[in-house]
Symmetry: C5
Subunit: 357 residues, 5 copies
Amino acid sequence: MAFFTKRYHPPGTAPGTLTAVPADQAAQLKVHLTDYTADQITALEDIEPVECQPYLQRDSMTWVHVQGHPTEAALHELQAAFKLHHLALEDVLNRGQRPKIEPYDDQLFIVMSMPLMKSGLVEVQQVSFFLSGTFVISFCEGDFAPFRKIVNRLREPGSRLRSRGSDFLLYGLLDLVIDQGFPVLEDFGQQMEDLEEQILRTSDNETLERIHTVKRELILLRHMLWPHREVINQLLRDDHAQIKEGTMIYLRDCYDHTIQLMDLLETYRDMMGSMLDIYLSSVNNRMNEVIRVLTVIATIFIPLTFITGIYGMNFDRTAGFWNMPELGLPYGYVLVWLLMVGVVASMLIYFRRRKWF
Amino acid sequence: MAFFTKRYHPPGTAPGTLTAVPADQAAQLKVHLTDYTADQITALEDIEPVECQPYLQRDSMTWVHVQGHPTEAALHELQAAFKLHHLALEDVLNRGQRPKIEPYDDQLFIVMSMPLMKSGLVEVQQVSFFLSGTFVISFCEGDFAPFRKIVNRLREPGSRLRSRGSDFLLYGLLDLVIDQGFPVLEDFGQQMEDLEEQILRTSDNETLERIHTVKRELILLRHMLWPHREVINQLLRDDHAQIKEGTMIYLRDCYDHTIQLMDLLETYRDMMGSMLDIYLSSVNNRMNEVIRVLTVIATIFIPLTFITGIYGMNFDRTAGFWNMPELGLPYGYVLVWLLMVGVVASMLIYFRRRKWF
Amino acid sequence: MAFFTKRYHPPGTAPGTLTAVPADQAAQLKVHLTDYTADQITALEDIEPVECQPYLQRDSMTWVHVQGHPTEAALHELQAAFKLHHLALEDVLNRGQRPKIEPYDDQLFIVMSMPLMKSGLVEVQQVSFFLSGTFVISFCEGDFAPFRKIVNRLREPGSRLRSRGSDFLLYGLLDLVIDQGFPVLEDFGQQMEDLEEQILRTSDNETLERIHTVKRELILLRHMLWPHREVINQLLRDDHAQIKEGTMIYLRDCYDHTIQLMDLLETYRDMMGSMLDIYLSSVNNRMNEVIRVLTVIATIFIPLTFITGIYGMNFDRTAGFWNMPELGLPYGYVLVWLLMVGVVASMLIYFRRRKWF
Amino acid sequence: MAFFTKRYHPPGTAPGTLTAVPADQAAQLKVHLTDYTADQITALEDIEPVECQPYLQRDSMTWVHVQGHPTEAALHELQAAFKLHHLALEDVLNRGQRPKIEPYDDQLFIVMSMPLMKSGLVEVQQVSFFLSGTFVISFCEGDFAPFRKIVNRLREPGSRLRSRGSDFLLYGLLDLVIDQGFPVLEDFGQQMEDLEEQILRTSDNETLERIHTVKRELILLRHMLWPHREVINQLLRDDHAQIKEGTMIYLRDCYDHTIQLMDLLETYRDMMGSMLDIYLSSVNNRMNEVIRVLTVIATIFIPLTFITGIYGMNFDRTAGFWNMPELGLPYGYVLVWLLMVGVVASMLIYFRRRKWF
Amino acid sequence: MAFFTKRYHPPGTAPGTLTAVPADQAAQLKVHLTDYTADQITALEDIEPVECQPYLQRDSMTWVHVQGHPTEAALHELQAAFKLHHLALEDVLNRGQRPKIEPYDDQLFIVMSMPLMKSGLVEVQQVSFFLSGTFVISFCEGDFAPFRKIVNRLREPGSRLRSRGSDFLLYGLLDLVIDQGFPVLEDFGQQMEDLEEQILRTSDNETLERIHTVKRELILLRHMLWPHREVINQLLRDDHAQIKEGTMIYLRDCYDHTIQLMDLLETYRDMMGSMLDIYLSSVNNRMNEVIRVLTVIATIFIPLTFITGIYGMNFDRTAGFWNMPELGLPYGYVLVWLLMVGVVASMLIYFRRRKWF
């Protein structure tokens, strides 16, 4: 994940300015519509925004999902078709918003962050919702695949989702977005258990890099998901006309999930902090051990080498009696060996006492 | 304890979906029933769910404890027999829930975490309760043994537990679950006192591993037990029809225990943080001492060895007067020894002044 | 940024004392006026304070922007012209105030901090606002350039800014000041991604200095921007006569931006803490590697050098049979080489087992 | 202080179960009674619980202090004599409770922790109080000595304590217990000032052990004393019939003391954290200095030793002209000395530039 | 600053006991009186407490400042003269109180901490105030100098201070005490900028000692000043009869200053934490560099010295062909030099690749 992901207008731009993503970056815009009552259901994929119009005016429940980046033209079409507030639409386009809930006239505007695991990396996509009495409009840049599960559940004739109103559909979508956090955190849990094995065994930079990566992803993920709790709490606490009483018990379940996720993220953060400390200590211990070996070897051999140095000197034994008389002793060499054995032995006793090996 | 213990459905699954644990992982399901009034008591172990039906319909208090993982068939039987809400039952099955309290219609649903010491390791089991006016249903995967104490207390004819309603039985069970924390924390307290002895004496990875293990278990335990406080607080604060006034004073006692436990956990966490710091410092001191010994030995002998090297050179003394005339002095060797003693002495004075030994 | 930027009077000075900046430090004072109704607009740059008088008395909306440090004379002129409270004016002059909102009689006084990137460094300027029903007066030491965008938006005849009251103009200015935070944080995000590349590769003081600089600037920036949230929240929560209902939805958008910025700053702070830890660990690993190489080389060659020292001794082989008989063996030299190869091999096996290379 | 000091019943034990301390651990039980009105006073030491009965029934104020561990028989005698609630009495016996306040019927039950300095070590004793309209009963395992001051103040005929009710007596006792914290914290303050002297001068494990001891005692003390604040706050806030209006001003003074103590404890904790950091840095600096000396000595002499090694080789100068011709130069030895002086000089210049000494 | 500065009575002492400071420690007591109405002013320095009596009974505003430690006799004189509550007077004498506000009958008692820079060190003095409708009594051990500014402002006939009541005088004094924090924090800001220069350049204990000193003074200062915020907040929030409506706007200004000071202190604390981390890292980098030099030198010369050692051995070349035949080669010495150059070159290539220099 990048550190700064928010799109923003230059400071001083008028509120509600809609700037489409440059054409070359814009993913293809696709509109998917599902219109249903308890009796019948129509599901259309990849249609034109205008085609939604007739469905929105009926009494049936309508779910419109807009995938990809809209172009400037598409934007105004969408705004006209769904009567969306310009401040809300600005937030839809300037992705990287903090999750939030905002009532606009008779619509409820909600921004959420959906985490996904893609080939071992976390990716967070902004999902925006507009809720009115008879429709839900959702926007997401990414793939439609995760949302298709909801279409499938709507297709089952007797399903709870089918027979309830647009607020229950919104709950289903929010629940879908929030629950994407569980597989992501399970994956992190797995990575952390792997790391735990490593930290006491290895001291290379690769382990360190993995610790850093997990830590940073957890910090960023927390930053992205933390506001979910407040969003769902506001849905529960404030009295929004669009949310019916019977949906509350399900939103409470949703709220419970956001708390579980945040709780787990906090626990993981604590854990990673602890792991880095342990890793550091383990590296320290390893260095300690290396230095101890160096010290033992060096302090044993340095005096010995000095002794051999002594008897390698070339003083002229003929110049005086006191010039290296040891060299002429019949057992001089043997005595030197005994001396050296004595030095080594006393060193070893000293090290053993200090518990250095 | 594993980092991620929650069972969850794939995101997008309909709420209240009940998926039994795969048959090969499912512990054998056992249902225990205790039905009592002030006058009589019936305690049955390992019965069929349907056998509970007649007891539930009577006015007597009934406690049904379900042990192990239910199979899919058993699940629907249970749901039908006890009229449990499907969202609650989903939480019973998807173990690893955060402790919580949720009112469903005329039942109160409570999830708790019960910590147990098993052969030196902490294990946390989810315990779920349903409370209605005349019965308590409890679910726990693990052994029935800890709960048998309640059966024994119920068997005593004049006991307070026997003469009061289902809310007092729930209190008894909650108190049992919460108080399991005390022996666990006592064990941790013991482990920490052992560690405290070690950290200043040893610097091996085994001590480090023990510090890490205690830290991680404390973090996970806190994550599991922290919400207990809120659960009991909600029982005290909110006005639940199922809880009678007279039980409140006992629940306050229970609340007091949750606070004591959390308080102790926080204190232990602070303590472990402090211990790791002290351990690190102690390892550092030890390394310091090793390096100091190395330095003293090396800086004493390296110059000496250099001196012996000088007089081990083979310059041709016959080629000129200035080629190593020292070698021909009658007392050359003695002078070199004096020089070396002088070097050592000045080194030792230097080290002593710097307080290196 | 400096640590202490507040101008203050010596303790015990009477409240509301106005001390102009010493003449040599004072930037040239410039007054810019924009007077507008839905129909017409007058924009004057660099005028005398007195020239504002007639515009303030009309019903049209008036925005006066005071740029630079006023002299003592200009101060009293300003106070008289705009009827500003003496405590508020003291805060305008003693720059380095904490952002705050204070109602004085029928004026609302607001202090904000505007961060700007100037040639790679953050600079924070105090911007002060006085809002009454028909005018906004803004003070800022720095350049008028960022504010000119608002003049341009006012110049567009049909713009929302033009047709609404002074409260909407205030919103526009607050939004401008707050949104300056986004490019600044984007820049920090970029710097942190650069640093992330470096910390695992290098261990020089230059990287450390960059980490420190980013950390300190984030701490100071947070200190400056944190109170914005409270200022906007008070505007939303308290019932100020000067703020009309229709502007609330825009101020909520503004509030949302302050939260996003603080959120990001907190996340960045966590990140920098994590990065410093990783940097430290990486430096440690590097030192570990260096020491390991030293140890391997030293522990291999020190014993070998000792062996060569042995056979460099000059014991007189003629003095006795036991004086270095190895020197006279026909294969003595070869045997010594074999011995040395053996020592090296066993050392290497030992190191390999300990995974030192 | 031990980490885990709470006595508890095995989980599942009925609430209010009273288990006396095993006879061999039980300190001798002593009951002290002081009965007083404004006119007269009776003070009895070491009496039987039953002897209190007549005093409790009179209108005079009665203070009964129970010292030591009661046996099982004594327990029931006490309960009967003073009509104490069984849950409260359980908390009196299971010492190691968290300070708390609990109203039981017409009695107020309060648990406090009294810290005492005993021969340089902190010891925390649980003190429990029962307050009713005409009596205070206090329990404390430890010595009666600190409480005797209250008896002495009661003995003074005109003292405020003597003329007011049981609530003022309770205030006197609470104040006594809380104020024991001041000498304890003064002692810690002294210890910390001593440590401050040491940390920059020494790097031995003894200093480290002292830092650890102070840190752990502060953590445990905070854990014990923190709830005092809440206890006194509840006394002030809630409307307890037993506490009269006129005592409130004194309890506020008491509350102020609890806050001062906690404030000081927090400040000390911050300070100890800072001291450990400084100690660590100082140890690091010391190691740095040692390593620098080693490096300077080693890097100066290693090249010199190499040079002497060169001219200690025994190449046969007669075998060819290029075999060590230097040995035969008339000034060879002098040149080698000059070379070595040059090497040392350039090394010293290098080190001086890097500011290594 | 010392860690423990509070004077306290032995636990169990009766509340309101007044113990004068021992005569030898007591600073000379001086009483200063300023009595004023809008028309006239009387300022007397160093008078007897009884002389204040007539002024207190008049309707004019009276400010009595008591400097130094009162003796026991003076104490009772003061208490009688000003009708001060005995609990409040105890707090005046037992200096080292936490700042607080306490209403006693018709007087308001306020304790504040005044920080002063004295020759580069912070000193905190307790200042106590009694406010009634017509007088303010202030106590401060230290010099009268800072307070004389208020006398001077009172002397100016038309000043705001002169024409308003005792509550405005109190505001003036509180503002004076609080604003003493700004020069102190400016000084700390300066010290920190100096430190910032040092931490990356030096690694001596003197820098470390300065870091520690700044950290500890900031911790203690925060401990002393933090409660100011609550004191002023209570003045603003609670409805005290002695404080008039018109003074509120000035007290809000005062409150704003306390927040600015605390904010700055917190920011400084964060900064010092960051600086210590950077210092530690910088010391580590420096050690790393030293060790790297040692390693490069040692690993280059140790193998070379070994080679010279080989050819310094004295094997008897006449004993067999394989005894050191190299010594007899015409170009043996040259070959050895080539070998050694090769070793050095490959070492250098290895180090260059690892980026060790």
